[in-house]
């Protein structure tokens, strides 16, 4: 309680000091159609030679008004829409939404459903990190990891496909539990995947972790301090790489994460390399969680008692989960009708993207690419 405004953080969001040589400032526009901006992100860079003086993100190219749509759909009907925000981690989005509505309805999913939810969500975290790794490495010029990660991600998508028929926007969960009982051989598939995937992480690491060029390209690039992270509201692996041991699965356990034993990997320098290491370690932790969950998968019902027509009592709830990209929150206001009065999504990518400016100051143009990659944003979620 001794904090004062001065120690808040020394984020200087104003124009930086004049460069030594009074050369012309070069303003370069990157995107919205650019291979390295991971979607339709437009970045306006102010450069001094190759050095970045500052940048501004222009977003909204993918804005679909998800929150507005939510106000005009029933609780059940809105469920598939959330998958379309962070389409790389659709299952996590669904989990967050279902749990929030369950909170409003004051029901809890049965244990079996909880376990399956954890398995699918963690698989999703792995898939999301794989996609991140592939594209991030591709941005830095290593093309091979992309194919390795996509090959292995395919196995996860196959499990999804067998479970619910969809691969990307799965719509796997229902408010109150699961729609489907797991298919026969689900557990075996998951276990097979874990056995298959464990050596694959080593394979990725072999390609990159000690690769001199990779280390040189990522060490001390886009570093951000824990203080700045917190001040900017950055969450997820980016925050953890800066040394804050904070994970919503531990801090505010949801589903039944409190029953599982796992570590929160953290970094020290908050640079791109640390973020890479943290995400790699998170994949290993996810494997651990899935192993525990699938080993202890209980029998029982998969749906709690929820009314066919959902009319949660008037009230409001904010609930958030640890999505692969950070804190994914839902703020839902109910007016006791069948449709939510207001649905607010707190997207991790959107808030994390704010840190891009801070992280890129003083870096080179080539580093901006690396930093955009390491932030792991999905524009569908940024713009909603």
């Amino acid at each position: 309680m001794t904090d004062s405004n001065s120690s808040l953080s020394n984020l200087d969001l104003e124009t930086p000091e004049k460069p030594f040589l009074d050369s012309n400032e070069l303003v370069i526009n990157m995107g919205p159609q650019h291979p390295a901006t991971h979607g339709v992100l437009r970045v306006i860079l102010r450069l001094d030679g190759e050095k970045v003086l500052g940048l501004e993100c222009v977003i909204g190219y993918l804005h679909r008004g998800v929150e507005k749509i939510g106000e005009h759909r029933t609780y059940t009907m809105f469920n598939p829409y959330v998958d379309r925000m962070d389409y790389v981690a659709a299952v996590s989005n669904g989990l967050g939404y279902c749990e929030t509505v369950e909170k409003l309805l004051n029901v809890e999913a049965p244990p079996r459903a909880q376990h399956v939810r954890v398995i699918l969500t963690e698989l999703n975290r792995i898939a999301s990190h794989q996609l991140w790794l592939g594209t991030h490495a591709l941005d830095i010029g290593a093309i091979t990891p992309l194919f390795y990660t996509f090959r292995d991600r395919e196995e996860i998508l196959k499990i999804y496909e067998k479970y619910c028929g969809a691969r990307l926007t799965t719509h796997a969960f229902r408010i109150g539990g699961l729609q489907y009982e797991t298919y026969a051989g689900f557990e075996k598939d998951v276990k097979n995947f874990l056995a298959f995937f464990r050596p694959k992480i080593d394979e990725y690491e072999e390609l990159l972790t000690t690769n001199r060029i990779w280390v040189e390209r990522t060490k001390n690039v886009g570093a951000i301090s824990a203080q700045d992270c917190i001040a900017l509201g950055v969450t997820g692996p980016v925050l953890r790489a800066s040394g804050v041991k904070w994970d919503l699965r531990k801090a505010k356990p949801y589903a039944n994460y409190k029953n599982f034993d796992f570590d929160i990997p953290t970094g020290e320098n908050g640079d791109t390399y640390d973020r890479y290491l943290v995400r790699m370690a998170e994949m290993r932790q996810s494997v651990r969680i899935i192993q525990q969950a699938v080993d202890a998968l209980p029998e029982g019902p998969i749906m709690a008692k929820v009314p066919k027509v959902m009319k949660p009592p008037a009230g409001e709830v904010y609930h958030s989960i640890e999505a692969p990209k950070g804190e994914l929150g839902y703020f839902i206001v109910s007016d006791a009708s069948t449709q939510p009065y207001r649905v607010r999504v707190r997207p991790p990518s959107f808030v994390n993207l704010q840190a891009l400016d801070v992280m890129c100051r003083g870096q080179l143009v080539a580093d901006v690419i690396a930093v955009i990659g390491t932030l792991d944003i999905v524009l569908g979620e940024v713009d909603r």
Partner: protein, 158 residues
Amino acid sequence: MIAKLKAGYGSGIEPLSYAGQNYMVVDRSLIPEILLVLRNEEQFDFCVDITAVHYPQREKQFDVVWVLYSFARNERIRVKTQILDGESLPSSVPIWPGANWLEREVFDMFGIKFDGHPDLKRILLPEDWKGHPLRKDYGILQQDNEWVQINLGIESGQ
């Protein structure tokens, strides 16, 4: 903690709870002070989210909601205030730099102005778009047809 604040500010604060989650409705005039107190004295150093809800029937049409989190206490709290249409709020960017985009989004979607915001402009919608889509009086099929016709060269985006 809320009790302490309540004791300090009296009728300006109304502590509430729903589904096990604490929140408080704070009078508009107390907002800058309360937010600063929460940040500096109660260690709510992480501004999770800023959003708004529109109630067209009420006289004070908008609820503005701050979702705050404290790493030290592992506690979340929501601060809510009610404002009139057209009334502005003090920006919380000086308190939490991360509030920047969140406030811009609230401005974009609801038209609520934040005084002292470094760069308050639309964030998701085009700069010269008319209307604020998350207001209840903005229909779900409604759009700025004029903008669409000028900028996209098509009759309608529907």
